[in-house]
Symmetry: C2
Subunit: 263 residues, 2 copies
């Protein structure tokens, strides 16, 4: 929630982002950047933000080095609330059974539900309770990772807080940023949340078994994904039926064997 | 996104929130409040946050007074991305046709899609492009409202950015905070996002036509809603089939006629 984590510091939002805007030309609309100055304006906010993001980036690189030394493939799994992250992780563990061992760090504002579910399925899992903070950060991940036996794992899934905005800028030290989008959410989410979708290495359409019932337009969704998630590998799955999970598991095994980039 | 709006200021999240946490007692978990101090820590962040929220609260009250003078019932409609806010607003306008005139302010990071859809359905609508900011605030709403002919309206729906975390603390000057939760998101969202659900005057279960296909546990969802959204009136609707929309429309007409509180 914004009181404590600082989302409220919106007096001077960015002039242009990583992704250009899409507007109909003929109708009125308002840009938030027309906000006036006042408390929390540019001069106060930006240095604090920059320091925080720089600190997070350093801790994320430390995580990255640590995870590499442990020979882990690390995924930062992000989506809207209710897109099926936990079910997808459970199905991923099943699809990899006997070939790769998976552990999970899962973030939520409140409850231990997801970690409890995963542990009940035999998957080592640590819950991070963010309280009111709308995303995980590298420090939270570092502390949680210390509670897992990383030497017994091949793959670490970090399930971020359900949020298509705020996790975009927080590197956690992952190898792959994975964004999930369920077919019941509509086709336009990449266009509406471009920073997060743009940053994804992998995009996964989930709940594909519900596509017909939801009236999902697959071609439109894939076109929107390709427009924003330029470099993302796209998978289509149903964790419930298992459709598509084998191809996803094979992909993970291949990526885990590939050399990691030096940059 | 957190870089510009300040979500990154998470070095010192709250010690306890408006809603107590729910944890399994026997398993390890990590609280984000164990974060160390550093750049962006308490001393820097809290005064800036407080000033911003106080400023927002003042502007929200000004909005509230302005909207009352215009005899408008104002809804702040919040949900996860893809819960069906825009479709619900369209169906609300249909259900009220001939009895109340509805206008919309709609927030998204990017695109004019929702406002264009609403205008195509004959509903006056203004799009607010937040750029990278994860919620609407009172100043954005005030500017957008100036572009609507409020004297021709009875009801103003403010469709917030799709996000179950960050909009919780930003009063926009609304009469009713309305949270939507689609049956395809699972039953546990109130437990996982307690601040926003706790603040709701109304909770609406949407996409009820998909309940069977999604394996939705209605009793569990209602129990979770009642646990967190203590004071909320609950509606169950399908905007696609129209089920439940008549009861919702009658409720809005009754609330609009009721005297507004003085406090």
């Amino acid at each position: 929630m914004c009181t404590e984590c600082g989302c409220g510091l919106s007096g001077e939002p960015a002039q242009g982002g990583r992704q250009s805007m899409v507007h109909g030309p003929e109708h009125p609309h308002v840009h938030s950047s027309e906000a006036g100055t006042g408390p929390g304006s540019h001069s106060q906010v930006v240095p604090v933000q920059r320091a925080l993001l720089e600190k997070n980036q350093r801790l994320a690189e430390r995580n990255r080095g640590f995870f590499r030394a442990k020979n882990l493939l690390v995924l930062n799994i992000m989506s809207a609330p209710g897109s099926g992250k936990t079910t997808f992780i459970e199905a991923t563990a099943q699809a990899l059974a006997g070939r790769a061992r998976l552990g999970v760090i899962v973030g939520d504002l409140a409850t231990d539900n997801d970690a409890a579910r995963l542990r009940a399925a035999g998957i080592p899992a640590i819950q991070v309770s963010t309280g009111t903070v709308c995303h995980l950060d590298a420090a939270m991940v570092s502390r949680a990772a210390q509670q897992l036996d990383l030497d017994s794992l091949d793959l670490l899934c970090i399930e971020n807080v359900g949020n298509l905005v705020c996790p975009a800028d927080f590197d956690l030290g992952e190898d792959l940023r994975v964004v999930l989008m369920s077919v019941t959410e509509g086709e336009d989410k990449p266009l509406k949340y471009p920073p997060l979708f743009h940053s994804a290495h992998v995009a996964v359409l989930t709940k594909c078994d519900l596509a017909a019932a939801a009236g999902f337009n697959r071609d439109l969704a894939l076109a929107n994904l390709r427009r924003i998630s330029h470099h993302a590998r796209i998978f289509e799955v149903s964790a419930r039926t298992g459709d598509g999970m084998a191809a996803w598991a094979e992909y993970l095994l291949r990526v885990r064997q590939a050399p990691k980039p030096d940059d």
